[in-house]
């Protein structure tokens, strides 16, 4: 199976602080992968490097065989932790904006998801609640037929009902051959949807396995996480 994301001795430093310590990683196509680790372990840095927002200090990161750039951005759908929406726009204008820049953006899917949530697309983004803005942002990301989805803490800071909605939206809308990388520290919530998981601690990958492998030993990823990251 071809790799959609590959890291070779990938290192990232912010001044004297090393966020990633030369990691090696390969993610195949068509998997849902959990990037799991405590706060400050390097999850967001890895995702920012993959999305092209940061450049590596050393080593390399490849998306579909290419360094992050204009070509990789065409096939990567990125959901950051932060709210990136221009609040002066209406939702429908934001949809037009996404449609203009991404060939794989499916407007009809976006409108369908908005209707399902009973959100009026003609409303300005600034009028939406924080929770609905997050949902709109997720809808914009999941309305793309991307090859790689990078979702940074998509269920952090939302209530359990919203978590279920977010996870089902991810599962229902990503193409089968695409890979979804979900960064989170809420392991129990994402565990049911994962094919693989990566444990990351202090900028190093401590484990990368298939979820089935853990299950076959009668364990859960959540349990294993607590064991590995015991304070």
């Amino acid at each position: 199976m071809a790799e959609i994301l590959k890291c070779n001795h990938l290192k990232k430093q912010y001044g004297s602080f090393t966020a990633l310590k030369g990691i090696n990683l390969e993610l195949p196509e068509g998997k849902i992968v959990g990037l799991l680790g405590p706060n400050g372990s390097g999850k967001t840095t890895l995702i920012k490097l993959a999305s092209g927002l940061l450049l590596p200090t050393a080593g390399e990161i490849l998306i579909n065989g290419q360094a992050p750039g204009v070509e990789s951005k065409k096939i990567v759908a990125y959901l950051p932790e932060r709210n990136y929406l221009d609040l002066s726009r209406k939702i429908s204008k934001q949809i037009d904006f996404m449609g203009d820049f991404y060939k794989d953006f499916r407007k009809e899917r976006a409108y369908e998801m908005l209707e399902h949530l009973d959100i009026d697309p003609s409303r300005p983004l600034k009028e939406l609640s924080k929770g609905n803005r997050e949902k709109v942002q997720l809808i914009l990301v999941m309305s793309r037929d991307a090859k790689l989805y990078l979702l940074d803490e998509p269920i952090g800071g939302v209530d359990p009902a919203a978590r279920d909605y977010i996870l089902s939206t991810i599962i229902d809308n990503h193409p089968e051959d695409s890979t979804v990388l979900i960064s989170t520290h809420l392991i129990a919530d994402v565990e049911p949807v994962l094919d693989e998981f990566i444990f990351i601690r202090e900028g190093e990958i401590v484990q990368h396995s298939a979820v089935d492998e853990v299950k076959s030993k009668g364990q859960t990823v959540d349990g294993l996480f607590r064991e590995v990251f015991r304070c």
Partner: protein, 285 residues
């Protein structure tokens, strides 16, 4: 992609700029109307003096509001265009804008083009609002027409003389002047953009203060570079410049071309600094 970026930026800015334009024009119309009505003899003769006085007070108030609004309008146009660049690329909105499948060059130029467009529109609205406020439309129109006519006559009558003085036909000099203005404005815009890039790189927590400090530094460097060019040019060929200063036209043309060249160089350096920061030293947190 550059076209799409420019289009979306234009639409976003227009949502705020057009109401501001309408407001400044509305204040001009109201102010002009009040001035006009209180100067009518019929009104003075037939309306109660107290009422006329109130209208005159209102008219003075509107004039004050107009002057303040006009200054705010000019300042806010520049501040808003610079702020758009900061907000779009160096705050949380950057998570979207900088992950679009577009090169940093496209992101920067879309903002530059919009700055040109909106500065031009603002200048037109400012002139229109002054035109409305000042009144005496017949005289103003007549003045503009006469100015154009006299320029035309001078060009027709003195075309050869101007060409000899400038060393180039007048239309070439007009194009040179337009390029000069475009480069000068672009340099200032890039100076602000590069200051935002450098300021946010240096001051991670206080980005706006960092931007202002970076602007002071870059602006002083720009003046120093310009001064250095003048000093080098005059010391390399002092005789040429002494001779040239006797011929006003040619000296003027040299200043325009030389200053355009320096602005092009500075704009290029500032653009390089900005793209370097956006590619290598991005700091969205």
């Amino acid at each position: 992609m550059l076209g799409k970026l420019t289009k979306h930026e234009f639409l976003t800015v227009s949502r705020l700029a057009i109401p501001a334009y309408l407001a400044i024009l509305a204040i001009s119309v109201v102010g002009r109307f009040l001035t006009w009505i209180t100067s009518r003899q019929y009104v003075i003769d037939h309306v109660a003096p107290t009422f006329v006085r109130i209208i005159k007070i209102l008219s003075s108030l509107i004039s004050t509001v107009y002057v303040l609004a006009f200054i705010a309008f000019i300042v806010m146009t520049v501040v808003f265009l610079v702020y758009r660049f900061y907000k779009n690329y160096f705050t949380d909105e950057g998570y979207l804008m900088l992950t679009l499948p577009v090169k940093p060059t496209g992101l920067i130029f879309s903002k530059l083009f919009n700055s040109w467009i909106w500065l031009l529109f603002s200048a037109i609205v400012a002139v229109a609002s002054l035109y409305i406020t000042l009144g005496h439309y017949d005289q103003l129109t007549d003045l503009i027409t006469r100015t154009f006519d006299s320029v035309k006559q001078v060009i027709e009558r003195e075309g050869d003389f101007i060409r000899d003085e400038l060393g180039v036909p007048i239309w070439v000099f007009v194009i040179e002047l337009i390029i000069f203005v475009i480069l000068l404005v672009s340099r200032y815009i890039f100076e602000w953009y590069a200051s935002i890039g450098a300021g946010t790189m240096i001051a991670k927590k206080h980005k706006i203060i960092g931007t202002l400090i970076a602007f002071l530094i870059l602006d002083n460097i720009s003046y120093a570079v310009t001064g250095a060019f003048v000093a080098i040019a005059t010391s390399v060929a002092p005789d040429y410049f002494t001779e040239l200063s006797q011929s006003g036209g040619k000296a003027l043309q040299l200043v325009v071309l030389g200053y355009s060249g320096v602005n092009l160089l500075l704009a290029g350096l500032l653009f390089w600094l900005l793209t370097y920061v956006m590619k290598h030293k991005l700091n969205l947190e």
